[in-house]
């Protein structure tokens, strides 16, 4: 669910188009946009406080008796619905391996690579202090 929540809507749709077709599903709730209140902690580790809201899209669907859920930041309702459908399909052991390989694995790999690239860029800006030897 975390991998799907972080996927770009267009990327997700493109991967799904190339994957084995999903069984039909029915909407249970949404897709709909709303807000979640983001919170921080005083001092980073103290009592919680409200930082401000963020938009969120959520959806629940039913597919062959299984219920799929999706929550994701932003207002991409289509991506929320596709994610909920995938969440339902992934609970089906016969569908799971093919969908994992066609959709989840490439998304997870792209997200891992993006994180690693950010970490490497940050590492390149880490200050290396050096001390000038005193002349005697």
């Amino acid at each position: 669910m975390a991998t799907l929540a972080r996927a770009e809507g267009e990327t997700l749709a493109a991967l799904l188009a190339a994957a084995p077709a999903l069984p039909a599903w029915t909407r249970l709730r949404g897709p709909e946009a709303g807000l979640v209140m983001l919170r921080g902690r005083a001092g980073g580790d103290g009592a919680a406080f409200n930082l401000g809201e963020a938009t969120v899209a959520r959806c629940a669907v039913t597919m062959a008796g299984r219920i799929g859920h999706a929550w994701r930041l932003g207002r991409d309702l289509r991506a929320a619905e596709l994610s909920a459908a995938l969440d339902a399909a992934l609970q089906d052991e016969t569908l799971r391996p093919a969908l994992e390989a066609a959709v989840i694995a490439p998304l997870a790999e792209a997200q891992r690579a993006a994180r690693a690239r950010t970490a490497r860029r940050a590492a390149a800006t880490e200050v290396r202090f050096f001390t000038l030897a005193a002349m005697r």
């Binding site: 979640v36 921080g40 005083a42 009592a47 409200n50 930041l73």
Partner: protein, 365 residues
Amino acid sequence: MYVAVKGGEAAIEAAHAWLAHERRGDPALPELTPEQIAGQLSLAVDRVMSEGSCHDRELAALAIRQARGDLIEAAFLLRAYRNTLPRFLAAEPLDTGAMRIRRRISATYKDLPGGQVLGPTFDYTHRLIDTAPRPAPAPPEREADGAAVPRVSAILAQEGLMAGEAPDPGGPVPDLTREPLPFPAPRALRLQALARGDEGFLLGLGYSTQRGYGNAHPFVGEIRVGDCAVAVTPPELGFEIEIGDVLVTECQMVNQFAGSATTPPQFTRGYGLAMGQAERKAMAMSLVDRALMARDLGEEVTAPAQDQEFVLLHSDNVEATGFVEHLKLPHHVDFQSELEKLRSIRARWEAERAAGDPARREAAE
């Protein structure tokens, strides 16, 4: 007193048509896309999300375009949009300790675990306008060791020299968007108000504490900028799920505290947290947060930045704009009554002056 006035519709329509034309600029040039604004004016987007108190890069970019780059107007638009959406629930507090760091600096320790990471900063740039910007190649990379980046405040806390944060009391988190602000305001509400407060107002207040209005001697313990996972626990699932990441900036501002009868001398910290890469905002917020602790710490409250009502009731730029700008709305009737009152006072004054004021004569004798 307000009186309904009819008329002006045609003038208003014409004014809005002209506004739309001015907003668009030269029609021979392509219109800015929200993607361009989100990508190339990303710090403006961060500020609008922060002060509009709603994280949504696309909406903030649209608001900036619609507002012709007026960021307070854009924050207003975002607040108005936010009011059309239901709030589903509150997220788990962001774990800034687990932030994926883009920038992390400390002014209190040179060498520290996790290092000094500059990230994409304006610091050390020459501030010379580049009239012919060169293409930006991909930034350099170096293998990251993936080591933990502990909080600087934890290093001082180990020695017992840093005041610990009060533990989370649990229970509902107070929310100033749902209930009026009480005074004295609890820290959670102060932080919420500061987080959505105007950067310029907080910057001025923070600066005032450095210049002697509040007796602050601050050090940047740590600034960190990076991505934090947002997690929620939807009731239909009953377990925690991650729903995406947000970029945030956190500032821990270290201050001395002389101690009191019950508390030993130690460092205290002001805290700043802002959506996006917003270092100035987070630093100013942390200075003002610390100044507002004066009352809790038993320090004398003498300066504007230490005065909760002064700070918290005037930091919201959407509210402030509303009250300042309402002055331009028609006050014709109000003003007529003021005018009549002043005319009668003036007539009396002229008459007394002509007659020679008996009260003044008596006083002179």
